[in-house]
Symmetry: C2
Subunit: 594 residues, 2 copies
């Protein structure tokens, strides 16, 4: 059951009409030759692959799950073959460095690929997804030798990668981690400890797995300043780069989970596993953050992908399912009842999904474009500004898109009524899969603390001002035009409110640091809405310009923008009050009196 088709028109709208990526790429020497047509062709092909090869394995993968037998993990039927096709088609290499066999396409193309992969099958996508993160970390921090050994294999997809952070007693609090790395005479390290929740930690898709493992050197300082990063392959690599002896890292068991059943979530036992140091000793978290930031954006794309597929399916159902008459009289008098899409609250559920997915797409593709600017723009100032914007907005991509996705997939389920609760219809899987995205790669609370504490208050609002300036310029440019006032007025208003709220919290936090913890979650929701309001206003501008074309695509875009401002943005009225209420109502009660 279920359906998925890549939303090509909307993706192209974002890339070309909103972001004008072809012109942007002209300012990036290494991408200057890439034109819109190439991008569209790649995305179209990727869409076919996702719909035809990956999507059909989504429900079956959920039903079957992964199998563990004495350390060997078998993925659900079809996963391995689909992965082989993925590798053969060269998809892992899409945005990778040509020096290591990559195709050198911009990040935003990869982003579009991942949106579609996640719509098609989040659990499957996590196998190549983690590999890409490992590629980025090794590309940024690996030694030449590590790059030589690992990067070609990760780029080709012959090998996959993982990130091994969490231990039973520490998830968020990595400073407590205990895994030990003993230096060996040959310059390698013997690593021992237990890691849990390792996504794609063991499986049958690839010949080898490169684990990026956080561990402590013998003389390491306590806390997060004594953590080093190691590359630990499942099979030791021969001098020729081939598969050598089995390394001392084993999958002790796999977890039984609420969702993403098709992905193996592994307990990994390291018993003197041989690894090599990545980056500098005791600075492992720095190196790992490259992977974690990539992963956080990746999780945002998981949220986006699930929102899109839940929307597509609930829309189809709402047009098909006949139930009750419209309160204003029959809309399908020839049928025994009206399709439920005529009912206002079904509309609310559909439009909420639609508004979230389209703004999320605009925002996340724009962020991917900023990453391309950061990596490749010819102007150093542009690179610096882009890096700041990416740093500022990564926690919003991760938390706002995944919170929205959980709401959206739940609305998608609700549109189906009782059938939404039945596994066969496929909607409840989206909810179960979406649930993990609010937790892993740093819970959404951690994201909100990262946003407010580190990214906003941490530099006295400097990064925030950069984004504020972008919004402000748009407001000033469009605010004088009467047809834009319905969008610009609330955008300007919420922008000012966010600024004011930021200053208030900043002041309060000086007296009591817990004020940051108390305000962070609602603050992130408000900031997310500022971003979405900005992108909806920009998309409305384009839709207004092209209205005369008569293309109903623009009419739909405009109506969705109006829905967003009328029905979703007002959530900020709640969140601002919740943020402003401060820490006192949270900490008044002693813990032992709960």
């Amino acid at each position: 059951m279920g359906e998925y088709a890549a939303p090509l028109r909307d993706m192209q709208f974002v890339l070309h009409e909103l972001l004008n990526v072809e012109a942007e790429l002209k300012q990036m020497p290494k991408h200057a030759d890439i034109d819109a047509e190439t991008i569209n062709q790649v995305i179209e092909e990727a869409g076919k692959f996702c719909a035809d090869v990956v999507f059909p394995l989504n429900r079956s993968g959920d039903e079957e799950g992964c199998h563990w037998n004495d350390g060997v993990v078998t993925t659900p039927a079809g996963f391995k073959e689909a992965y082989q096709q993925y590798v053969e088609a060269g998809w892992p290499a899409l945005a990778c460095d040509p020096d290591f066999g990559g195709q050198g396409l911009p990040m935003f193309v990869n982003n579009a690929l991942y949106e579609m992969l996640n719509s098609a099958n989040q659990a499957w996508t996590m196998y190549p997804g983690l590999s890409h993160g490992a590629y980025e970390a090794l590309h940024a921090h690996g030694t030449d030798e590590q790059k030589r050994i690992y990067l070609h294999k990760l780029v080709s997809g012959e090998w996959t990668g993982t990130m091994c952070l969490t231990e039973p007693h520490c998830g968020t609090d990595l400073g407590m981690l205990r895994t030990k790395a003993e230096p060996q005479a040959d310059g390698t390290y013997a690593i021992s400890g237990t890691k849990i929740f390792i996504s794609s930690g063991e499986h049958d898709l690839a010949d080898n797995i490169v684990h990026l493992v956080l561990a402590r050197l013998p003389d390491a300082p306590a806390g997060t300043k004594g953590i080093s990063l190691f590359a630990v392959p499942k099979f030791n690599v021969t001098p020729e780069g081939g598969i050598g002896t089995r390394n001392g890292i084993q999958c002790g068991s796999i977890e039984h989970k609420m969702g993403i059943h098709g992905n193996s979530t592994c307990v990994m036992n390291l018993d003197g596993a041989i690894g090599t140091l990545v980056g500098e000793p005791n600075k492992g978290l720095n190196a790992m953050f490259v992977m974690m930031n990539a992963a956080r954006l990746g999780v945002g794309m998981q949220g986006l992908g699930l929102t899109e597929v839940a929307y597509q399916n609930s829309l189809a159902y709402a047009k098909d399912r006949l139930q009750m008459r419209s309160l204003t009289g029959p809309k399908a008098p020839d049928k025994p009842a009206d399709p439920i899409i005529v009912h206002p609250d079904v509309r609310r559920m559909l439009l909420t999904q639609k508004a979230y997915v389209e703004a999320g797409r605009a925002f996340s593709y724009w962020i991917a474009l900023q990453i391309d600017r950061e990596l490749s723009h010819e102007d150093e100032d542009v690179r610096k500004d882009a890096a700041d914007l990416v740093a500022l907005l990564t926690p919003i991509i991760k938390a706002f898109l995944t919170d929205n996705a959980f709401e959206a997939t739940n609305l998608g389920l609700q549109v189906f009524g009782g059938h939404g609760f039945i596994r066969e219809w496929g909607m409840e899987q989206y909810v179960r899969d979406a649930r993990i995205n609010m937790i892993y790669e740093g819970t959404n609370t951690i994201q909100s603390l990262d946003l407010l504490g580190r990214k906003v208050l941490g530099d006295m609002g400097a990064k925030m001002k950069k984004f504020g300036k972008i919004v402000q310029e748009f407001v000033e440019q469009e605010g004088v035009k009467s047809e834009m006032q319905e969008f610009i007025n609330p955008l300007a208003d919420i922008g000012e409110k966010l600024q004011k709220l930021t200053m208030e919290i900043g002041m309060k936090a000086m007296a009591n640091p817990d004020e940051v913890g108390a305000a962070a979650v609602p603050y992130l929701r408000v900031a997310g809405h500022v971003v979405f309001a900005y992108f909806w206003a920009r998309m409305a501008r384009i839709a207004l310009d092209k209205q005369a074309s008569g293309d109903p695509f623009y009419k739909a875009k405009l109506a969705t923008a109006r829905f967003y401002f009328a029905k979703l943005l007002p959530e900020t009225a709640y969140q601002i009050r919740a943020a402003r209420a401060g820490v006192k109502p949270l900490l008044e009660l002693e813990a032992e009196l709960f």
Copy 2:
């Protein structure tokens, strides 16, 4: 994994300190002899049964699920034995009519029992829960013969009951149902058709199952005015009231669902099944509404029960799990990190659950007391007023408590971080189980339409005024006291806003009935908060009065009240805006342009 203990202190607080039920019962002749001690003893015993017998089967029942084999359904291991103990202890009879073997206790005692049963095991509880609804429908609308045959068996729990409404093509829209009832020469009816989503439709717990089936007589008018209700036993009943021949109603299959795995959700095929008419021909929905209203309150209790158990478990975890230091300095310096309950956002997640469960308990026990008043009060005016309050507030119990429960169970899961997503820890089951409560017995959208369209606007606000008067009297009585202003001011404010909103929507609905559909869902959220604000203010009043006792229970109550007003009630600022935004943003876009 997991834990549950009946929250006896809080239940007794609601029954005795808030509702003063002993004094209330004095005005109900048939309950006048029941004292507080008896009530407490019953609840304490029930709590033990729930914690010791029913709760241990919750996880295992979820893991195992039900089995179907050629029409025979086997429930998970232990379910049958637990049900036998339940029957032997007389729990099914608790609030039933002594004329049929019942114990004649008030409804609110049954309500307390059901809160605890649902905390312990929602899927299991649905077997006796549906039976109780069937008992109520037959008690109200059955013939003497039907009462004679069925009620003793339902009261004793030897037999169970179901409600058979939904068909593949109609759930919400019962007017479309097709199941046929052909009159037979002996006054019975031969019923044929297919019913789906029949909870507890077939199982191995009891000797017989009484299905209450909606069907059409041959000459029935189209739509909802041509639906009749029939009692259709699994086994025909012998003249002596024993088990006779197998009737023509069979379980064709059971559904595989997101949650409530331990409850059998059945496709029931009727092929000339023999039934008897309940109530009048073509007025089956009237009779069924007795059962549906009972079921809607029952679903609210499912939400309440899940909220309580999720809260208990996440609280225990938050006190135990060590992770990070408080931003204001170590709180457990002797430990490697602080327990996570020190972090403000963990507090938010715990207090949200706590505030929802305690207000939900106050509200739902109060409603149960109104049902007792409706059924048993000596004064007819009191009976009438109580009936109006129950009718008005039933959709709020159903929708508000279950929406809140879904949020609360999700927050409970989130407190566990990654462990919340792992089945072994038990938290994700609460989320999956909670999800159905927003759908069945009328989706929460249907509840909101019932509230706004039928219960509020349908009588020009007459019922609403009755509840408004209760709130208003409390506001006037307490508003003059300075210590109560932090609670009374926002309560009075939100009460006025709801009144204003009601009038606005009423005006708009006269011009366009779709305005009701557009506003209903946010309207119900606002109305629910008015109810919760009222009960939190009342509980705060009691806590203030007893503060001097030094009992920390009252300190906790007061702190939770303050949290509610500071952090949860402000949701209304959003919902009022969403309601007010009206229907235009929902219907602007033609269905075919989605």
